[in-house]
């Protein structure tokens, strides 16, 4: 009883905190709360965060899948859905089912092989933390912001400026659809059968499930007390309790303690067990409850997703074609995406990023959004910069600071100033100073390094001059350029970030003694 209460309390606390950390745009939770993302299993693996990996492995080897039970936000999301489903179907009961061992290990195998070939997309798609992050970023966050705006309207009408308005906009159709499918798909599985996702598709679940077979503390039947009534099986959201045969598939048990609570005879205990040789529970029983898992489902799914993808891609291509025909002035077109600060290069990003979109949520300037095909297939949903709502703040290092996988390495402000994410390109034919012969200079105003500077032009006019070698690629110029229909200045991304040199300028001693008039 006590154990379950502790489990529920810890789970609710952790899931609330990590969700709030994603949603919080005002810095109520200090930045060090990014540890909530860093303690997640797959991010820790990718970041080669030895301390966390050892801690999680030890935790599992001693207590079982505590990570899946109380730390993983997707696990807790499923518990919440299952709990809700109980409110709607009073006679909700789970039944023991055969382990989908082949499916689990095949999925893990494919994910690992894809990862080793640099295709991290699959790992990112299935990693429970990353998937949960996308749900929060693309689905919960807009609701949170709308709530903020409602409060703002009420408070401001009374002259109270505690709240301020925030803009709400989509961050990319593809990632939003993926997030929605995740929410509904995993939600539906959880509604019907509890932790199905964790014990079939989840790569973290498969690895930790394997480890938990060897854990010290285990759920056990007290054979003399148990009368095989089957109550525990009905309460087991992992469907791993076989009350009839008094067997437990430890690879699927997420140590939720629901079975202990359900038992009227105190016949289930959670206690240390010393692993004896050859006494391992066989996950595949001699008899079979149902037909072996078929691959029909997967191929159907693959077909559907491929269709969806190609449809989206085709639509995009057609849209580009049409836009091309309307061209009059020179249209700036980014050929290479801009990877966020700290990404080092596209390969590093592609290998390490699981697209949890914490950087997307946390960027105070709203310049990071998930890619569609900008990085190619393997980089789908990974972060890239765009300048529709602002530009990358020169002194800001938040994205690298919060990234739990090390895909965006943390930079000091000094290092950030030396990091070139892209280079400025100037299109004279589009520039207002050239076309209208009137003053502008908006681009240069926003340039923190004066890679865009205003130089004498006609009469008192000044015109932009660029020095791409000292450009950091922040997009200040591109974001503010008022030229229509096409901007006169934009940033082109580059495969690998460069280091730029900053010239030290000595301040001159100037003493002013008079007013000058």
């Amino acid at each position: 009883m006590m154990l379950k209460k502790i489990r529920v309390t810890v789970s609710i606390l952790l899931v609330s905190l990590i969700t709030l950390y994603f949603l919080d745009f005002r810095g109520f939770l200090p930045q060090r709360f990014s540890f909530l993302a860093e303690i997640q299993f797959i991010p820790a693996l990718l970041a080669l965060n030895v301390g966390i990996i050892v801690a999680l492995v030890m935790l599992t080897l001693i207590f079982g899948r505590i990570y899946c039970s109380s730390v993983c936000p997707m696990g807790i999301y499923q518990d919440v859905v299952a709990w809700l489903s109980k409110k709607f179907t009073k006679k909700k009961r789970y039944t023991y089912s055969k382990a989908k061992t082949v499916l689990r290990w095949s999925v893990l195998g494919v994910v690992v092989v894809a990862f080793l070939f640099g295709f991290t997309f699959l790992l990112g798609l299935l990693d429970p933390y990353g998937a949960y992050g996308r749900m929060v970023t693309h689905l919960f966050r807009p609701a949170y912001l709308a709530g903020n705006n409602l409060l703002e309207a009420i408070f401001t009408s009374f002259g109270n400026y505690t709240f301020y308005k925030v803009a709400i906009y989509g961050l990319g159709l593809f990632s939003t659809i993926v997030a929605l499918i995740t929410l509904l798909g995993i939600g539906l599985l959880a509604w019907r059968n509890g932790r199905t996702y964790c014990n079939t598709l989840c790569p973290a679940g498969t690895v930790l499930g394997f480890l938990s077979k060897f854990s010290l503390f285990k759920i056990q039947f007290e054979n003399d007390k148990c009368n095989s009534c089957g109550l525990c099986s009905m309460k087991c959201k992992a469907s791993c309790l076989d009350a009839k045969n008094k067997k437990i598939d430890y690879s699927r048990c997420v140590t939720c303690f629901n079975c202990i609570e359900s038992c009227n005879r105190d016949a289930i205990k959670y206690a240390p067990i010393l692993p004896r040789r050859k006494r391992m529970v066989d996950p595949v029983p001699a008899y079979s409850y149902d037909k072996p898992a078929k691959s029909v489902d997967t191929s159907k799914r693959r077909f559907l997703s491929a269709t969806l993808l190609s449809a989206i891609a085709a639509g995009n291509l057609i849209a580009q074609e049409t836009a091309g025909k309307l061209r009059s002035k020179k249209e700036p077109k980014r050929q290479t995406p801009i990877a966020p600060p700290g990404a080092i290069d596209f390969n590093h990003l592609r290998e390490k990023c699981i697209s949890c979109h914490l950087c997307v949520s946390k960027c105070p300037s709203h310049v990071i959004k998930p890619a569609f095909l900008e990085y190619g297939l393997g980089g789908m949903m990974q972060p890239h910069l765009y300048f529709d709502h602002g530009f990358c703040n020169y002194d800001c290092t938040v994205c690298g600071d919060v990234c739990p996988t090390g895909a965006l390495t943390p930079l000091t402000v000094e290092e950030k100033h030396h990091t070139q994410m892209g280079q400025v390109h100037f299109i004279l034919e589009n520039c207002i100073v050239y076309c209208d012969e009137t003053s502008c200079g908006a681009c240069s105003e926003h340039c923190p390094t004066q890679a865009v500077s205003m130089v004498p032009y006609k009469g008192a006019l000044t015109i932009p001059q660029i020095d791409p070698t000292i450009c950091v690629g922040c997009g200040g110029c591109e974001s503010i350029c008022p030229a229509i229909p096409y901007k006169a200045i934009y940033v082109e991304g580059q495969e690998a970030h460069n280091r730029i040199e900053i010239k030290e300028e000595k301040p001159e001693e100037i003493i002013i003694e008079d007013f000058g008039f």
């Binding site: 308005k165 602002g390 009137t438 200079g441 105003e445 008022p482």
Partner: protein, 313 residues
């Protein structure tokens, strides 16, 4: 503008047309009446050599005291330059000590409420925080309000403008009884110099329109908006001589310790420009928006005709 904002604007403008129009018109009338009523002893006061708050205290005393400009019960808006995410040492934003002193004086003169805002170029939360202005203004008792969303702005007409006929101006200005313009003196890549008139670009929503329709004319045009500031206070404590308006490094900044106060926006910008020219040559004639503003009858560039008080501390 997204659909949500569009609908909101429709609803709001409908509401304001039916109910608020008269009130607005009234406040505009009283405003211009009171502004002309204020009679300062000098046309322009120039101070140098002191700390920002000390120089302002001197200057406002010479101008006959804040009571000359602010009435008991007034809703006052103080509009500094908070355009950039830079520390006060860079002189990219108005000096926070000066802003705090002006707020204090407004309250001493009986102001009911003082509101501070700017429409920054960098991310607004960082600008408000790192400029030191939000903290200083709040400590002095002012309300610091956001300006990063279009919905905070109200459409007003600018009938005397040449290129700019209407603009969306922040409600803090539109709804105020008086406002005080508190720019800082800087070099500016596009407008040559940014002083009092250029500071108006922080009260409007769509700056892109300015840049796309002859920046130097639009700056002068917006200054013809009928609700004029009761005072222009130019902070030249630190002046950014190069790479303005954002600044690159501390070598762009000169500790000049100057302050200029006037009701005549053309005169105060001309004076500040002359002061700037002792550091770096940018002839005031090349700062076209000052010339354009004089042509629109907003003030005079001929400082010799003015009664100027010069104080060295």
């Amino acid at each position: 503008m997204d659909r949500r904002n569009f609908l909101k604007t429709i609803a709001l403008s409908g509401a304001s047309l039916t109910t608020l129009k008269e009130v607005d018109a009234m406040s505009v009338l009283t405003q211009s009446f009171q502004t002309t009523q204020a009679t300062a002893k000098y046309d322009l006061v120039a101070v140098m050599g002191g700390e920002p708050e000390v120089m302002f205290r001197q200057a406002i005393t010479e101008m006959g005291g804040m009571k000359n400009f602010i009435n008991r019960g007034d809703k006052v808006c103080v509009k500094p330059n908070i355009g950039w995410d830079q520390p006060p040492e860079m002189g990219a934003d108005t000096n926070p000590k000066l802003v705090a002193e002006i707020i204090k004086q407004c309250f001493d003169a009986g102001a009911k409420e003082v509101i501070v805002f700017d429409h920054p170029c960098d991310e607004w939360r960082k600008c408000y925080t790192n400029s030191g202005i939000e903290a200083a203004a709040k400590a002095a008792g002012a309300k610091v309000v956001p300006a990063h969303q279009e919905s905070y702005y109200k459409e007003v007409s600018v009938p005397k403008g040449k290129n700019l006929k209407s603009a969306k101006i922040h409600e803090a200005i539109v709804d105020s009884d008086k406002w005080i313009n508190v720019p800082c003196l800087k070099n500016h890549g596009g407008a040559q110099l940014t002083i009092s008139m250029k500071n108006y670009m922080g009260i409007v929503w769509d700056r892109g329109y300015f840049h796309a329709h002859d920046l130097q004319q639009c700056i002068a045009d917006i200054c013809t908006y009928e609700k004029r500031p009761v005072l222009n206070v130019v902070d030249a404590y630190r002046i950014m001589k190069t790479n303005g308006p954002r600044g690159k490094s501390p070598s762009d900044v000169v500790l000049a310790k100057g302050l200029f106060v006037s009701q005549d926006i053309v005169a105060v910008d001309t004076a500040a420009a002359n002061f700037f020219n002792q550091v770096r040559k940018i002839p005031v004639e090349s700062v076209k928006h000052i010339v354009n503003a004089q042509a629109l009858g907003l003030g005079t560039m001929d400082l010799d005709k003015l009664n100027i008080r010069r104080i060295k501390i």
